[in-house]
């Protein structure tokens, strides 16, 4: 029982040893890509539909940069994982 408890308590060390950080990072970055892409599209629609209500106060380019960066990183990490 004690051993099992330890396994649950320190999974991060095991993750490090098995190279799972790349996978975890890939999953987080791909989540960011999906969320920021959906957010960007919603904001873009709101901006067009309601007289630039977003871009009058917040630049949509910031989100676009986030979408592009996370998209590129997702693709790169996917490539790394495929090689492994």
């Amino acid at each position: 029982m004690k051993l099992e408890a330890r396994k649950v308590k320190f999974p991060t060390i095991r993750l490090w040893r098995t190279g799972g950080w790349v996978k975890l990072f890939y999953v987080i970055v791909s989540d960011l890509f999906v969320i920021s892409l959906v957010g960007y599209l919603i904001f873009l629609w709101l901006d067009r539909a309601y007289n630039q209500c977003i871009s009058n106060y917040f630049s949509l380019n910031i989100i676009l940069v986030l979408v592009l960066l996370s998209g590129i990183m997702t693709a790169v990490l996917r490539g790394i994982l495929a090689k492994k």
């Binding site: 989540d31 969320i35 007289n51 209500c53 977003i54 009058n56 106060y57």
Partner: protein, 281 residues
Amino acid sequence: MLPSKIRFIFRVIFIAFFAAILLFVLYQNFNPFGVPRFYNYEFSPKINHFINPLLPKERVSEYYRDAKGDWYQALKGPLVYFSLYPVTQDWKLDLAIKYKSEVPEIRFGEVVSAGDNLEYKPYPFYNAFIQNLDWPCVENNGVFLYQKEKHFNSVQEYLGNVPLDKNNAVYFFGDERIKNAKSFTHFQNPAKEIDYLITIYKKAKATPDGWLITTMHLNLSNSFILRQSVRYLFSIPFFENYVASSGELAPEVAISSIKAVVYEPPSRYFLKFQNLFRNRP
């Protein structure tokens, strides 16, 4: 910590980030507490999202920068417009315009029509003669009385007992009691001929670096607002018939900045909420 938990936490952070942007934008759009907003258009190539650039382009110069680093744009034509967007009818505005002028007069106009037939309500903006006038002045409720020799202590006193044997000049002011009133522009040599000058023109404030600042309070309740946009203009009568002769430099009118403070009424829901506390004994 489990990877799935780490992933969940990051998901929450990302979604919260976008929710925060959405809340911020909603707050800025609806301004529920009626907090004044400040805008400053410094006539640099940087776009201002409330104060739009001067138009038409043929009547304004490019963006210049003076030795002290102030951006400015020169006006070249008799009518130059700018607009404020987005605005609504229940807003109030304070405008502070920083400029330099080498022409005798500039008027500020509020456009009240759309289409080709331009109509505007003119207001005094700059008048070189009054600006440099060092006569004693009394002021009441935004009306200024300049007297060559001081006789009256208030505008009411003057209007109640207008000296009709003297030369009374008016500039953007009308009152039946001044029966011999002549427009200020009718005098060939106003400094010598005029005894009393009554006007609503407020002298511009001079800055140490040679610019002038004129402030105006505008109420948009009676303004002509088209598609959430209100249009103002600078009218420079001097440029109407002006043709520069060869080698002569045209007098310059330079605008360096337009600062706007917007006062919006708080949301009615917020007022209701406030009244809940006010009405308590």
